[in-house]
């Protein structure tokens, strides 16, 4: 069957399940040559990505999060009942002006997605994040027996009516001083993952103590029509304190430093229990249009799934409530886990990749884009220990001007995780590269790297590693 015939079959598909069936299974779907990632709808660079990266460590950065994430709003008497049914988190003490990083799993205890849940009032929660958690929440809100209303505010590239809110973060050592200036006085005390209110000149905003970079600061939001006004106030107040706007290039690397694994493979593609969900989920959904990439290749989609422990969320799992996946997670809790760690890539091997661009034909290595080096929506590169055995996978990778080197976030078998150990990352795809249009023909190579902890651990506190 030619590519045209396969294309015709997939365009007729209405749901994720139909699209998977037409492709010949979940892995075939996730390896189809697709259109590639949607553009991040913020300028690529405001100054240059090197200085923008350094701003969150040395001065202050302004992240504009108004566009790339979807928001779900849940309202009604059963809001917390629904959330606690789908999330591994405890809801003890959750209520207005509190937030938490929600993690939702399938019945086998594998993660479908995560997002930040903001409790804005009694029985009113707004969830912000990548698409998979929204699909899952909406599916349960609409198909379960809950007294609840569900509203979606889509990310800008799929939103025809305009966003409801702007969302900014100011992070970095100068963040407090800048925010005090625009507030016209000291900020209220806003503990980690707690909400509060302050002023940005004439605008009142609501804020959460949560930062992409892990460096001190706040996330805050308000009606979208105030977006430019708030931005102007911040930039004016922050000009002499080195406040720098982050463009799409630097933004995409902040989480690699701070340790949030963004590119979770939603654990929805297999298992009969999730078939009704896949039949509900549209063929144009995020889940039906992402792709797998990297040197780690398995013929079982489950190999790409992660448990909360693999992602560093083990501490979030609380059995004080009944939730989807609870039984499996009780069992998994006792089994060996993978653990989140950082790889620090060796300079000489990285330079070898760039030097290979002078090789003819397919003898070059996979191009390493900067600052973010991944080339698929879900990147998995094999990490090998001594003797070449697979000890884990490397996920998002980036050059960090703060570290002054390439780093990657990875998930390593607990029993093999030894900080300071030299390991090898297999860079590039087998057999010259997959059908992913972002992949030029190349050969694989091995990059030496050192296993380590989060960069600047002493200076940062990130949402993904703190309670």
């Amino acid at each position: 069957m030619g590519a045209a015939a396969a294309g015709a079959a997939t365009t007729r598909a209405a749901t994720l399940q139909e699209k998977m069936d037409a492709a010949g299974g979940p892995l075939a779907l996730l390896r189809q040559p697709g259109p590639g990632p949607l553009p991040f709808p913020v300028k690529a660079e405001f100054t240059n990505w090197r200085d923008e990266q350094e701003s969150w460590r040395r001065t202050a950065v302004l992240f504009d999060q108004s566009h790339h994430m979807a928001d779900s709003t849940l309202e009604g008497a059963d809001t917390l009942r629904l959330l606690s049914r789908v999330a591994v988190n405890s809801f003890a003490g959750f209520g207005p002006m509190k937030a938490k990083q929600l993690v939702v799993c399938n019945p086998d205890g594998q993660v479908i997605g995560d997002g930040v849940a903001f409790c804005l009032a009694e029985n009113r929660v707004r969830v912000v994040g990548r698409a998979p958690i929204h699909s899952w929440l909406q599916y349960h809100a609409e198909s379960g027996d809950y007294d609840i209303s569900y509203r979606r505010d889509e990310r800008t590239v799929r939103n025809r009516s305009g966003r409801e809110l702007f969302r900014f973060q100011v992070n970095g050592p100068s963040a407090r001083e800048i925010l005090e200036r625009v507030n016209g006085g000291p900020l209220p005390d806003i503990p980690f993952f707690t909400m509060g209110r302050f002023n940005v000149g004439p605008y009142e905003v609501t804020a959460l103590n949560h930062r992409m970079s892990g460096f001190p600061g706040l996330e805050f939001w308000g009606p979208y029509e105030q977006c430019d006004g708030v931005r102007e106030q911040l930039l004016e107040a922050g000009a002499d304190l080195g406040l720098t706007q982050a463009g799409a290039k630097s933004y995409s690397t902040a989480a690699v430093e701070s340790g949030w694994i963004a590119q979770i493979t939603p654990a929805v593609y297999s298992g009969e229990a999730l078939r009704p969900f896949r039949e509900w989920l549209g063929a144009d959904s995020f889940e039906a249009n992402v792709n797998l990439a990297g040197s780690f290749v398995s013929d079982r989609v489950e190999e790409y799934y992660a448990t909360p422990w693999d992602l560093g969320y083990g501490f979030i799992v609380k059995h004080d409530h009944d939730f989807i996946g609870a039984e499996a997670l009780r069992r998994i809790a006792e089994e060996p886990h993978r653990q989140k760690a950082w790889l620090y890539w060796h300079r000489d091997d990285v330079v070898r990749i760039f030097a290979s661009m002078c090789e003819q034909g397919g003898r070059r290595f996979k191009y390493l884009d900067m600052p973010a080096g991944w080339y698929g929506s879900m990147q998995y590169d094999a990490v090998e220990g001594s003797g070449g055995s697979l000890i884990g996978v490397s996920r998002s990778l980036a050059y960090s001007s703060n570290v002054r080197g390439w780093i990657s976030l990875c998930m390593i078998d607990e029993s093999s995780l030894e900080y300071g150990q030299e390991v090898q990352l297999v860079w590039g795809e087998p057999n010259g590269g997959s059908a992913n249009p972002a992949v030029e023909r190349h050969v694989q190579t091995r990059i030496r790297a050192t296993l380590g902890r989060k960069p600047f651990s002493d200076a940062t506190e990130g949402s993904s590693i703190r309670r």
Partner: protein, 455 residues
């Protein structure tokens, strides 16, 4: 309305204006990549590429009895034989013979010429059309980022590469008419009849074609459908930015308008929000005279276009310059180990790193001039630098003193700006380094013919 002259006066001179702390990179308003820029680059060499030029250039339409008189009094080119269905690359100079800009002039009918390119040529032509007492009307169709009307008048595509002919014959439903170099013809794409010029950014065989903007997506679809089995790839902004360095068109000319009393009236006419008032100078070549950034037609490889069969602005100066030593266009092939050293320096702390090399287009200013040295002496300027997947090398277009233009000679390119870097917002703090490079001819010269090298 504030003018370019006002901006120069406020900044404290032309160089101060062109070195203001701002970002000189204009966003190219199409997707950065459709597949990946490596394969997109190789497509114009190995299969076929679709360039979308509908957004980034300005069009100026001149009509009326004096159309040819206006153009021939401004352009160095001869207008002998110019008329309907002909086009030419026009080059416009100031009174001292320095280039203000270049553009493609399409003769679409008697007394009807459309000028397409960077706005510096258009502004100069429009100024004379408005103030010079010519019997002409003019109409401007600004590039998308500065277009207030909300829509462009035309779409503009180029299809080129070894498979371009087969693809275009397929959409045309039969053999193409003979369209010689820089001549205009017609072809059919699906249900639309398009006008086409034999002119290509890459130099590889193909055509440029246009029609009403509202037909853009239908034409694109027809081309992509016909081209699928021939390896036709769309070029994104990243690959597009790199094509002219291979083919030899020097895009980042400094419009020679910022100095001299004879140009003052023009500077007072050019708006403060213009292209010219918002450019940025950068690179390792630094002079305190703006004129050192100007170039003659001879420097740019356009000497063959200068024809003294007519009177034009700059003629007298060019008659003199023609007999003086000048500089030649050439290509620099950067040495692999020195490029690798720049990437290795990304592991250095503080300011000890070298200037970041972006890929595929490596420049960080709208007008970038880097020093080329031999034995420590300045022998020329390097402009647009790119990585080319076709050449499998970094290369840059340069302008070298004639006597130094020796193929195979090793020279040093000074990479990065002095004193840690200028105020250009695209420049992080860094130190300079020298990259060894070899002087050479245009890549694939045997397989290409480019607008900038042929009559």
């Amino acid at each position: 309305m504030r003018s370019l002259q006002d901006r120069i006066d406020e900044a404290g001179g032309p160089l101060a204006l062109l070195r203001l702390p701002r970002s000189g990179i204009f966003p190219f308003p199409i997707r950065s990549e459709f597949t990946n820029w490596r394969d997109e680059q190789e497509s114009w060499y190995r299969s076929a590429v679709l360039f979308d030029q509908s957004e980034h250039m300005t069009d100026l339409t001149i009509e009326g009895a004096d159309t040819h008189r206006l153009l021939s009094e401004l352009a160095v080119n001869s207008f002998n034989g110019f008329g309907p269905a002909k086009a030419k690359q026009i080059v416009l100079c100031n009174h001292d013979g320095y280039v203000i800009g270049d553009a493609i002039a399409f003769c679409l009918g008697e007394h009807h010429v459309r000028i397409v390119g960077r706005p510096s040529a258009h502004n100069w032509i429009q100024f004379h059309a408005q103030t010079g007492g010519y019997d002409v009307t003019w109409r401007r169709d600004d590039r998308t980022v500065q277009n207030r009307s909300g829509a462009r008048e035309l779409f503009r595509f180029q299809v080129q590469g070894p498979n371009a002919q087969a693809i275009l014959e397929r959409v045309n439903g039969g053999p193409l008419p003979a369209i010689p170099f820089f001549t205009i013809g017609r072809l059919q794409v699906g249900r639309h009849e398009l006008t086409a010029l034999n002119h290509r950014m890459s130099g590889f065989p193909g055509l440029e074609m246009w029609g009403p903007y509202e037909h853009r997506e239908e034409v694109r679809e027809a081309l992509l459908e016909a081209g699928a089995e021939y390896g036709l790839l769309q070029a994104g902004a990243r690959a597009y930015a790199s094509v002219a360095t291979e083919s030899g068109w020097i895009a980042g000319i400094t419009p020679a308008i910022y100095s001299g009393e004879r140009m003052r009236a023009y500077r007072q006419w050019v708006p403060a929000a213009s292209f010219e008032a918002n450019l940025i100078l950068g690179g390792s070549f630094v002079s305190d005279r703006i004129e050192d950034y100007y170039l003659t037609p001879f420097d740019l490889g356009y000497g063959f276009m200068v024809k003294f069969d007519h009177d034009f602005v700059g003629r007298e100066a060019l008659e003199r310059l023609a007999t003086e030593p000048h500089r030649d266009k050439a290509w620099l092939y950067w040495q692999r180990d020195d490029v690798a050293r720049v990437f290795a320096s990304l592991y250095e702390q503080g300011d000890r790193r070298f200037k970041y090399i972006d890929m595929p287009a490596a420049w960080y200013s709208s007008m970038q001039f880097d020093r080329i040295e031999r034995a420590g002496a300045l022998i020329g300027l390097s402009t647009t630098a790119v990585y080319s997947s076709n050449a499998r090398s970094f290369l840059s277009l340069c302008i070298i003193d004639s006597q130094e233009r020796v193929n195979g000679a090793e020279v040093a390119l000074v990479w990065g700006e002095p004193d840690g870097g200028s105020a250009n917002l695209a420049v992080e703090r860094h130190v300079q380094t020298r990259i060894r490079a070899t002087i050479g001819d245009k890549p694939f010269a045997d397989r290409t013919e480019g607008s900038s090298l042929r009559r």
